[in-house]
Symmetry: C2
Subunit: 209 residues, 2 copies
């Protein structure tokens, strides 16, 4: 076993610490966040700090890092109150990663992904993405501890392939081809272990059939 203490972490090189701490808490969702500014110029950025906040109302949280220059995503969300979350599949994970380069114009054109629009949502969806979520800005706040910004949005539209919605509402993201991320640059497909029954003290959970 390798053990890192507080001082090991603090004294490690910046790049080492950044990779280590970004890898630490486990597999992450990887969403391309689509926005546009008030004049309609589009922006696309990869976010791995997106998380469930509640189902009623349907709220999703997202962390925007302070030193991510240029922070067009946050500026666009605050200006238009509209953004989209778009899952990434194996077919375009290299293009998705490429959005994090410093592009002069729109990342859509830069990396070769296509914007597509819905009547319900101002911001662009990623046409190539199997799972597309339309979001409306609700609130944001800066966390004093390190100046990261927590953005809270409400889900206002969900566009998914027909076959992945289970009768009970569960989405088979693996069937949709959604991938998962580790650290700052690692990507993975998945293989299902299965869904488990609701947990009760009286017996071990079993696989749902």
């Amino acid at each position: 076993m390798r053990v890192f203490s507080t001082s090991d972490i603090a004294n490690s090189k910046d790049r080492f610490r950044k990779n280590l701490i970004n890898s630490l808490h486990g597999f992450k969702s990887a969403n391309l966040v689509g926005t546009q500014n008030s004049t309609g110029s589009t922006n696309l950025a990869l976010f791995t700090q997106v998380f469930h906040l509640g189902a009623t109302p349907p709220l999703v949280g997202m962390i925007v890092r302070p030193h991510e220059v240029p922070r067009h995503t946050l500026e666009n969300i605050l200006a238009t109150h509209s953004y989209t979350l778009n899952h990434i599949q194996e077919q375009f994970f290299v293009e998705a990663h490429h959005t994090s380069a410093r592009w002069e114009g729109s990342e859509f054109e830069g990396v070769g992904l296509s914007a597509v629009y819905s009547d319900q949502v101002k911001a662009p969806y990623v046409a190539e993405s199997a799972v597309q979520i339309g979001m409306e800005y609700r609130e944001h706040q800066t966390l004093k501890i390190n100046n990261t910004v927590l953005v809270v949005g409400e889900v206002i539209e969900i566009r998914v392939p027909d076959g992945i919605v289970a009768e009970d509402g569960y989405l088979d993201l693996e069937a949709a081809g959604t991938i998962t991320a580790t650290g700052l640059d690692g990507y993975h497909t998945t293989e299902a272990l299965g869904r488990l029954t609701y947990a009760k003290p009286t017996h071990k959970p079993e696989r749902l059939v």
Copy 2:
């Protein structure tokens, strides 16, 4: 394509909406959070809303849901300022899921996992877990929008298998056997697509070797 509008989401049955919205944003980290109360009684709970907040200092955020009765994890963190994050492997993912039943005593005993302690961290680690992270409470706040609680902690110890730490600090979580979760009850192993090079506008990212 299947499209859910705001009213489709609002008018769906509670269970359907809960499964759908919890599945929505993608694959999630799955961590067993180990705590103990001021008299040393241990508690273990599965959390899938854990996310990176920053590397310097090394901060991790976690969302605690308001209606998760009994909220022993939050009470214990506030009482002792200590908690651990423990990754889940295929060998004990059923036991991990089982921690969410309403146990009378400690979930460790209820599901059959073992507590192990370090000199640096008051809270118990899960002995079976390959990746163990010791956390110290920094701050928390209740989000007014839906009364969820954001807990921010600092990483004070990292215990991982020797072989999974890359030279640049990246952790090979797949090699550690860490699994990922979807929705409220789905679990998955992973298969690496690879790490990609730092993104620049001048050329497509390539696989790191």
